[in-house]
């Protein structure tokens, strides 16, 4: 009788631990669970009016070394497409869309960037590229000084917590 209870308790404990571990994985919001990386590269195409800010943002993520973000060419499949929009009725400055088939998209809302300063423009590109690298939004105000904070800031390069998230995903 006692043995049966013990076994039943162990089985229930195993089941509870399984459910808990699944919940913990789902709650890991710092990783999106998807990205635009293909064989340690993101090959991008498209164009933006604020291309110099895009160039700065790409260079700053590339300085972390593990993933190479480079323009698309005839020898590679495009992983990510940049474009501009001009929408006044939405709350976003930039938007990353992951699609299971075809190139992912980054859309930049020039309605806001037109009146932004240079650091804020770079911040929007840096943030959206962070999503393309698989890093999720950080909503808590304790992260207000990092690139992946969910609101636009003037941060122009990955900060220590961004680098931790990046390395968790991409460092060998």
């Amino acid at each position: 009788m006692m043995k049966s209870r013990k076994i039943r308790f162990l089985l229930l404990l195993t089941f509870a631990l399984l459910v808990l571990s699944l919940t913990a994985v789902a709650a890991d919001v710092h990783s999106l669970g998807y990205n635009s990386v293909d064989a340690n590269e993101i090959r991008w195409g498209g164009s933006n009016y604020y291309s110099s800010n895009r160039t700065t943002a790409i260079a700053n993520w590339n300085s972390l070394n593990h993933i190479n973000i480079a323009p698309d060419d005839a020898w590679h499949v495009e992983d990510l497409t940049f474009s501009d929009v001009n929408l006044s009725d939405v709350t976003w400055t930039g938007r990353y869309t992951h699609t299971p088939i075809g190139a992912d998209k980054i859309e930049i809302n020039n309605y806001y960037l037109n009146s932004d300063g240079d650091p804020e423009r770079t911040n929007t590109f840096l943030h959206e590229l962070g999503h393309a690298l698989g890093i999720g939004d950080h909503d808590s105000s304790q992260y207000s000084s990092i690139a992946m904070y969910y609101v636009q800031t003037s941060i122009t390069s990955p900060q220590s917590h961004d680098i931790v998230d990046y390395n968790n995903l991409w460092a060998p």
Binding site: L87, T91, H98, P100, D116, E120, V151
Partner: protein, 174 residues
């Protein structure tokens, strides 16, 4: 013999629970969801900033879904909404509220995990008007708060009347 029977019974219950959970996830979750991640221009958790950005804050009842439009490559869904109470701005009668997201070619597009509006339900809406489209686009997740009862409605109205009083008008982040 009895121990074996108990283990068998426990295992059957556990397998049953697992089948139920798997079945629920399979049938309730749409087959393919496209997620958008975006950077906010304002902090939406700050009511004063949110109301300062918006042109209209109001209580409205969703009468029907009136349209679907693909804008910049992703679906948006339009609803006919009857305005019941204004908190910011002056709207009256029935207007078109636009929600970013919707279904296109069997794929569900979700913005900030914002659930699609339900016909017949009443919400507190926080919106901005688009002249080009002649619709009021709601703020995903923060600008379509479902109203469950009169007490919650009063508390929400008090909260956003106060936010209107202390609103921080939107300027660029420069």
């Amino acid at each position: 013999m009895r121990i074996a029977l108990n283990i068998k019974r426990t295992l059957i219950v556990l397998v049953g629970v697992l089948i139920l959970i798997t079945g629920y996830i399979y049938f309730v979750t749409p087959k393919q969801i496209v997620y958008h991640s975006y950077q906010w221009v304002i902090d939406p958790s700050d009511d004063s900033k949110l109301v300062g950005w918006a042109e209209n804050v109001f209580i409205g009842k969703v009468n029907s879904q009136t349209g679907n439009k693909t804008r910049i490559g992703t679906p948006e869904t339009q609803f006919s909404v009857e305005v019941l109470d204004n908190i910011k701005g002056k709207l009256d009668g029935t207007i078109t509220v636009n929600q970013q997201g919707g279904i296109e070619q069997g794929k569900l597009y979700l913005f900030e995990n914002d659930k699609m509006l339900e016909v017949g339900k009443t919400y507190l809406f926080i919106t901005r008007y688009s002249k080009e489209e002649n619709w009021h686009t709601l703020v995903p997740s923060y600008g379509d708060i479902l109203i469950q009862d009169e007490m919650q409605k009063k508390s929400l109205m008090d909260r956003f009347i106060n936010a209107h009083r202390t609103q921080i008008p939107f300027t660029s982040n420069q």
